[in-house]
């Protein structure tokens, strides 16, 4: 074979289709490549969307039942001052939050009705003088400073604005605890996307500032007249 012949052979091999073994996938993609790429892209997209929107929220929150159920409607009928009958301001202006056992004992020293939840409450907590470890839906992280007095007394806001119509519920809903931060789902809001319809759907910092801006609230500390993080955080 001459050098020219060799050169011709080489060029022929280079120009013509390569002898590809039938098992190679390149042939498939070579023929239907675009479709498969889109298919797999879509597959990845759909799987991650399902993970992100459906599975993730379920994994992120653990479901916890309150130690005892509570009927707000029933109790609201019995008291005179509405929410403030049990969730009152103390003499020093601080807010009492969730009632302590001593407030309940007046009526529930003994079992009054036939509700098994009340029986449980009396036997497990009142009789043993143990505080009920209520799970608090609206508990903010400990670095948040929040004054109920400033909002309820000074700004004349209604409880419902932030807490919703909890006073009209007959049962306590399941407490969903964030496995990472340890706080209630109600802070971020039920909607995992963070969207809200009502003012009480979320309790994040943005929700505070939204209202503060809308109402043109003084952005500075009342005590120090300085603005910044430490007005609401400590």
């Amino acid at each position: 074979m001459t050098t020219d012949q060799k050169a011709n052979e080489n060029s022929a091999a280079g120009a013509g289709p390569r002898p590809i073994p039938p098992s190679s996938g390149t042939e498939v993609s070579g023929n239907t490549g675009g479709g498969m790429v889109i298919l797999f892209f879509m597959l990845g997209l759909i799987v991650s969307l399902i993970v992100g929107w459906v599975i993730f929220p379920q994994v992120l929150y653990s479901q916890k039942k309150q130690p005892v159920d509570f009927n707000h409607v029933l109790h609201n009928d019995e008291v005179e001052d509405g929410c403030e009958s049990c969730h009152f301001f103390r003499d020093d202006g601080t807010f009492s939050g969730v009632p302590r056992l001593s407030q309940c004992v007046d009526c529930h020293e003994e079992v009054n009705g036939e509700d098994p939840e009340e029986e449980k409450f009396v036997n497990e907590y009142v009789a043993k003088d143990r505080e009920v470890p209520w799970l608090i839906y609206s508990r903010q992280p400990s670095n948040v400073f929040f004054s109920h007095a400033a909002h309820v007394k000074m700004a004349q806001m209604d409880c419902v604005t932030c807490h919703g119509n909890i006073g009209e519920t007959e049962n306590l809903k399941v407490y969903e605890e964030n496995r990472i931060s340890g706080y209630s789902r109600d802070i971020w809001g039920k909607n995992i996307a963070g969207l809200k319809r009502n003012t009480w759907d979320r309790m994040k910092m943005d929700d505070c500032s939204e209202c503060h801006q809308k109402e043109n609230v003084n952005q500075n500390s009342v005590q120090t007249h300085k603005g910044g993080c430490f007005v609401c955080h400590h």
């Binding site: 990845g44 992100g52 302590r100 992280p141």
Partner: protein, 737 residues
Amino acid sequence: MKVDRRSFLSFILGGAAGTALSPLPWKLTDDLSIWTQNWPWTPVPEKGEISYVSSACTLCPGGCGILVKKSAERVIKIEGIKGHPINDGGLCILGLAGAQLLYGPTRIRTPLKRINGGWQKISWQDAIAEVVAKLMQLRVDGLAHKVACVAGSDRGTVPGLLNRFLTVYGSPNFIRTPSIWDSYELTLYLTQGTRSMAGFDIENADFILSFGSGLIEGWGSPGYMLRAKSMLCKKGGRMDQIESRLSKTAAKSDHWISIKPGTEGALALGLAHVIIKEGLYKREFVDGYTTGLSERYQRMIDGFPPEIVSRTTGVSTGTIVALARDFAGARRPLAICGQGQGHLPGELQEFLAVHTLNALVGNINQPGGIWAVPEPEYIDWPELEMDAVASEGFQQPRVDGAGSIQYPNARYLLSRLPAVINASQESPVELLFVSSANPVFSLQDTASVKKAFEKISMKVSFSSYMDETAAMADLVLPNHVFLERYEDIPAASGFPKPVIGLAKPVVQPLYNTRHVGDVIIQLAKELGHNIGAAFPWEDYATCLEETLGDKWDALVEEGYWVDNAFNGTDWANAFETDSAKFEFTNSEIMALADYAPLKPEGDETLYPLLLVPYDTMRITSEYVGSPPFLIKALEDTILKGNLGLVEVNPETAKALGLSDGQDAKLTTPKDSARVKVHFSNGIMPGIVAIPRGLGHTAYDKFLAGKGVDYNQLSSPAEDPASGHNAAWGIQAKLSKA
């Protein structure tokens, strides 16, 4: 269908796009940021109603009023009570950190019994039965006097109950832990004839001459002294500190007079010499209300002219003369003594010499002077009816020798106890109770103290904490801590007025502990007969309320009772000596060994340096161990990592080839320890200093194993005049580690 590389990448890309379009990354970021800002292991106070309970601090004998802030049932802060006669809103670092002593990990939660070297939890009933069995056996064997009790105080109802129990059981061996107040009590008794407590009207003085007293470092009642020192400064008063080391008190004084350690008594005598020689003393008082000055002068003061004193003390003659003139010339001069926080009784003759200065300037029971504060008299329990065994046991000589021919003046001599036990074939103490004291740590020469304690067949500790003494005990019957119990505080160290405080329970007891007063009453009732009859109260609370009588309501309401009208007794009625005058000397004082600076232990050729201890507000060295907050607040000139620092003059260190910050070995005739060198120009060449209160082996990880224990390196030295421990230092050497 085969998945190739491009499909896989597409899948990943699709997944990434989908994830970005889902709330997952944004929500995770948010949650993680909340988590990082609120570490779940960082303690956050329980949310709840804020309330305040006023009580009194019993962590030291200072008697400060405390206002305890609670959130629901959790103690979250302790502060001083404004308007309180002692501390008026102020509080020391230990008081502020008190909540850590309530919630800290070092507490004993239930009665414990030592079995095969380990601890076993036992019930209160079993624990008390064990003690009762031992007590009964000793009485049957005629060894009732072999029961002893070491307590942090001898005043108030709890020490009163312990003492009463021992007496009616048949033992004279109730022993109080030593302090400068032993020497002050003796000084007042010998010169003024009264059994009283020394009080100091610092705030109304205009010249404080302190012979090494850590006035702002925990001497006396810290709450009062810190406040009084500020008042003195505000009023333009002067304070001179005589001390071998630049302590914080020295640094905050108008003059720091650097003196050879252990020679303070000589300087006091030298000052007295000048005042008498130059006729600077207050004639109205000395001529009218005192006796024995010339005899005292001849016997003692004459031998201390400034030239000789200067050689002994290292203070120049000019300074001595000027200081004497300034002191005598001040309107309300006051001399005080007792080293550092005053945990060591010191030399009785030094106290007498310093008290002589106060007498020469007539500042006794006067505004700005030293006042003899009467001992509290509210404890008026029924007379004891002793049975034959009790009478016989009680008449046995005290095991510590106090009150014997050799030590006629001392009331308690705890520092002698280890040596007495070690010198005996069989321990003279068979059963030892320890209450509010940690003698295994606070007595000097730890090795011999431990050896002595090992010889005692049964040791019962009432400690709330696993301290060094509790760790050696056979039974621990844990007391409630100070925020969980009632207790009367019968006086405040060094406070010039009679004052009673009441500590109240701020929270319910957290653990299975019991008030030591209740345990004593129960032990007595179990023993029955005359012993049970001596304790007619149902429980300690009843005993306390009945004892305080008409003061109870005011004490519960206010937290304290103070005799505001007390202004010291006037000179004509103040002295209960035979002459009814202040006695510069008398037969009892003449019988005492003369003053001579005490020589520290150790051969100077082998141990060329002198090791002295110092006190700081940030380290406790008595019963209550320093809580973590105090150790955190320690300067790195005292503790670095787990190594304690030794203060050395750069000159001394350079001669030894040691540099600043270098590890070294500190050796005394007793022991050696690894230390870090800290250069300080505030200490004389040839002297090295370490703080008292570090080097614990017990308590918790926050305190144990940090620094060096001075008591382990040193030994007690007996004051020939009183029998008390007067050791102010020990010979030492420092070498490269």
